[in-house]
């Protein structure tokens, strides 16, 4: 199909491989800046945590399966839902989307690495620090127990003794710094490392989605870091930010938290829009319908998402007219989301769809996510939300949105790009079984929660009295969740089995339209032998592909292009493996962990950080060579 899928015997490929490969062994593992390796460990970590947090959910479902059970005491239950929510939101959903971007963005751009390779490594190590920050204390029974949003004063110094709340707050700082690092990297890569010819108007929707999600991350995350840092300050150095009798305001925390918290939901959902668009395009065998409408709706979501955080706070007693404004803003977001749904179905309609597993996940996504979107419209209404908020209706709603809207597309994306990552196909039979179990189990488990919420069951209760009539549906919900968990295990088994025994395939098993399918499967360390050129949205569906030459073979170089038109402007040296991202992450970890015990950690902890960063940025290379490039065919 393409001139670039050169054979392994090619000496040029061998030389590039030699230039871009990591040192062998443990040293290579610790120093790698290969975006594929970093993304792979990111993804494996998030999937492992997804499993752990899923088990916590199962434990809670068992506790709730009948009224008045005693298998968990309130402390354990509170710890479980706090750990479940915090892990799923901060350590699974957001990082896994960034990880997918780290893996896919350079490949989809025909590039050899991210714009800031070491920042990607730093991002992972710091994220791992956040994971350990939450889960190691859990192993020694110091678990945050106040939910995934720890409202003061409950999380303040008087009502939350010990370090449980600090651990939660600092885990957020970890993961948010990691997420900021990843987002800056992704945004920069998409803006400056596009292949020649890929103007903004010819950029695949996945890249648009990741660009928007990254920019949203950059704007949203500082708010929550501010909120949690103020909380730590209240707890550690007795400031009064959230103490009403000291002149502070308990609501301030909620505003800051949700100013991040609502965009967060879209930071998770928007990448899924990218997955779905890519899958639909490939399996409908036609370009996506309504590309411009899709791009505009993603942008609209990215902007609107910042204007509706108050819909999480309708019950706190804000002025009613203000609430109505946020109702209108929240409902407006249904328009771009509805347009996206239409465009996907229209693409299926206008194409000739093939129902492989990734496509099944898209169908499961549409059926499930639209329910979540519509229940979102209901909760967006300020007066109605007064009945719905903080009940199981909300629990059902956000699981439909997050699992149906983000995890289903993610699983589809996993199946879709799996052959690219491993060179092997996943089993379709096991894949279909996992799909049926997960989608069926999920809907069986979570649909009843809408009704439970309407029957008055509040969320975050560790038990409920027998007379409330909530027992039967809770039992159904537990059974559904168990089915979904079994489906999840089948999915993992399929991934593992296929890793060793799946059918071997070539570069492009699905006939995909975008550049990543031009690389070998699995991609070599340098991804592509040549710099590919693009002149349409679906370059690989053209008869022939143009390619550039001219990047060095003996050192790491990448081609930088202009932001709008993707005109080549210069070759940039790309940095090689380094231990300093890991060392910097360790130094930052020391600072963060220390600062929940003493404010002085900020002072002495800054010293190792400064040392590590100095070594990281120590100039070791000549200036990048500049000048115009010749176009070769």
């Amino acid at each position: 199909m393409t001139a670039t899928a050169a054979g392994p015997g090619d000496s040029r490929a061998a030389q590039l491989r030699q230039t871009w490969r990591d040192p062998p062994g443990l040293w290579g593992f610790l120093t790698t800046v290969d975006h594929k390796r970093i993304a792979a460990r990111y993804i494996v970590t998030t999937l492992f945590l997804l499993f752990l947090a899923g088990m916590l959910a199962m434990d809670m479902r068992l506790q709730l399966s009948a009224p008045g059970l005693h298998r968990m005491d309130p402390q354990l239950y509170n710890e479980s839902f706090s750990l479940h929510g915090s892990t799923m939101l901060f350590l699974v959903s957001v990082p896994v989307m960034e990880a997918m971007a780290l893996w896919l963005v350079p490949l989809m751009l025909g590039q050899r690495n991210m714009a800031f390779p070491r920042l990607a490594a730093f991002s992972y190590w710091l994220y791992l620090g956040g994971v350990l920050m939450l889960w190691l204390p859990h192993a020694v029974n110091i678990t945050p127990d106040l939910g995934w949003f720890e409202y003061p004063p409950l999380s303040g110094p008087a009502y939350s003794p010990g370090h449980r709340a600090d651990i939660w707050a600092q885990m957020i700082t970890f993961t948010e710094v990691a997420a900021l690092a990843a987002s800056v990297n992704v945004a920069m890569t998409i803006l400056k490392l596009r292949p020649p010819g890929m103007t903004l108007a010819k950029m695949p929707l996945f890249l648009w989605a990741m660009l928007v999600a990254s920019l949203m991350t950059i704007f949203a995350l500082p708010a929550v870091m501010l909120a949690t840092s103020m909380l730590i300050a209240d707890r550690l150095v007795s400031t009064h930010f959230f103490s009403p009798s000291g002149g502070g305001d308990a609501l301030l925390f909620q505003h800051l938290f949700w100013f991040f918290g609502h965009p967060e939901v879209y930071i998770i959902f928007v990448p899924a829009v990218g997955f779905v668009s890519a899958i639909v395009e490939t399996f409908a065998r036609r370009p996506i319908f309504g590309y411009a409408a899709m791009v505009l709706s993603v942008l609209a979501i990215g902007i609107l998402a910042f204007g509706l955080w108050v819909h999480h706070m309708f019950a706190v007693g804000l002025p009613r007219l203000g609430n109505d404004f946020y109702t209108a803003a929240s409902m407006t977001i249904a328009l771009p989301a509805g347009i996206q749904i239409f465009c996907w179905i229209a693409t299926i309609w206008g194409g000739r769809p093939r129902l492989a597993t990734p496509m099944l996940w898209v169908i499961g996504f549409i059926i499930t996510f639209v329910i979540g979107g519509l229940s979102g419209v209901m909760t967006a209404s300020a007066p109605l939300d007064l009945q719905l908020t903080d009940t199981y209706f909300i629990v059902a709603h956000f699981h439909y949105v997050l699992v149906g809207g983000a995890i289903f597309p993610l699983l589809g994306a996993f199946c879709y790009w799996y052959p690219k990552a491993t060179g092997r196909l996943m089993s379709e039979k096991l894949g279909t079984l996992a799909f049926a179990l997960i989608v069926g189990g999920f809907n069986l488990g979570f649909f009843p929660m809408h009704i439970l919420g309407l029957w008055g069951m509040p969320r975050r209760v560790y038990t409920y009295p027998a007379g409330m009539g909530w027992g039967t549906l809770n039992l159904v919900a537990t059974i559904g969740s168990a089915v979904a968990v079994v489906g999840g295990l089948v999915f993992v088994a399929n991934a593992l089995w296929s890793f060793w025994y799946g059918r071997r395939v070539g570069a492009d098993p699905w006939g995909g339209p975008t550049l990543e399918w031009a690389a070998r499967s699995p991609p070599p360390p340098h991804n592509f032998d040549l710099v590919l050129c693009v002149d349409s949205l679906t370059p690989l569906w053209k008869k022939e592909l143009t390619a550039f030459d001219g990047l060095a073979l003996d050192r790491r170089e990448m081609l930088v292009t202009t932001v709008m038109e993707a005109e080549p402007i210069y070759r940039q040296n790309s940095v090689g493996p380094s231990i300093w991202p890991l060392m910097s992450a360790l130094a930052v970890t020391l600072l963060f962990v220390g600062s929940i015990f003493t404010p002085w950690a900020l002072v002495w902890g800054a010293v190792p950080v400064a040392i590590a960063l100095t070594f990281w940025f120590w100039p070791t290379r000549a200036r990048a060579s500049t000048g115009p490039l010749g176009r070769r065919r």
Partner: protein, 168 residues
């Protein structure tokens, strides 16, 4: 080149992660009994048997029990005389620094306290006496502004026979 890169990340990280876990968990290990929360019945029914009573260490170290003690300290009106602004013999921090009384002494002085209004002997259940004593002992390590900050959060809590109303 001989071996695909993808094998590494499945096999290599295990050792590394284990190592990191061990390093990371060291500072948290001693903290685990401090943070534990034991709910439900089965709390102490008798006063401390002596200086070596093992329950003393548990109560003094446990942050949950200490915090509960702080709550009852305010509920029982202790803060009216022994609050943040207390001076002289009523300043529990100063008294402790001066005389360094043991847990048993503190417990006994609360249990047999002869305050302005009433004695506490037999009125405060044993478990709360343990918690109160643990709280009073913990005051030594609490900075004055930290104590004041906690009072701010608890400004709406009732104190013995008076309640100034909810937090405004």
């Amino acid at each position: 080149m001989a071996e695909p890169m993808e094998r590494h990340w499945l096999q290599m990280p295990c050792r590394h992660i284990l190592l990191a876990c061990m390093l990371f968990s060291m500072p948290t290990l001693p903290a685990c009994s401090r943070e534990s929360r034991s709910l439900g019945p089965g709390q102490p029914q008798t006063p401390p048997s002596g200086f070596a009573d093992p329950r003393i260490t548990y109560f003094e170290d446990n942050l949950y029990q200490t915090a509960q003690g702080g709550r009852y300290f305010s509920w029982y009106g202790c803060a009216a005389c022994h609050g943040t602004e207390a001076r002289g013999e009523r300043d529990l921090i100063a008294v402790q620094l001066r005389h360094s009384p043991s847990f048993v002494d503190v417990y006994a002085s609360i249990a047999h306290h002869r305050g302005v209004s009433f004695g506490h002997d037999g009125m405060i259940p044993t478990e709360q006496l343990w918690q109160l004593a643990a709280y009073v002992r913990s005051l030594r390590a609490l900075k004055r502004e930290q104590r004041r900050r906690q009072d701010l959060d608890q400004a709406g809590e009732p104190q013995a026979m008076s309640w100034s109303g909810t937090v405004r």
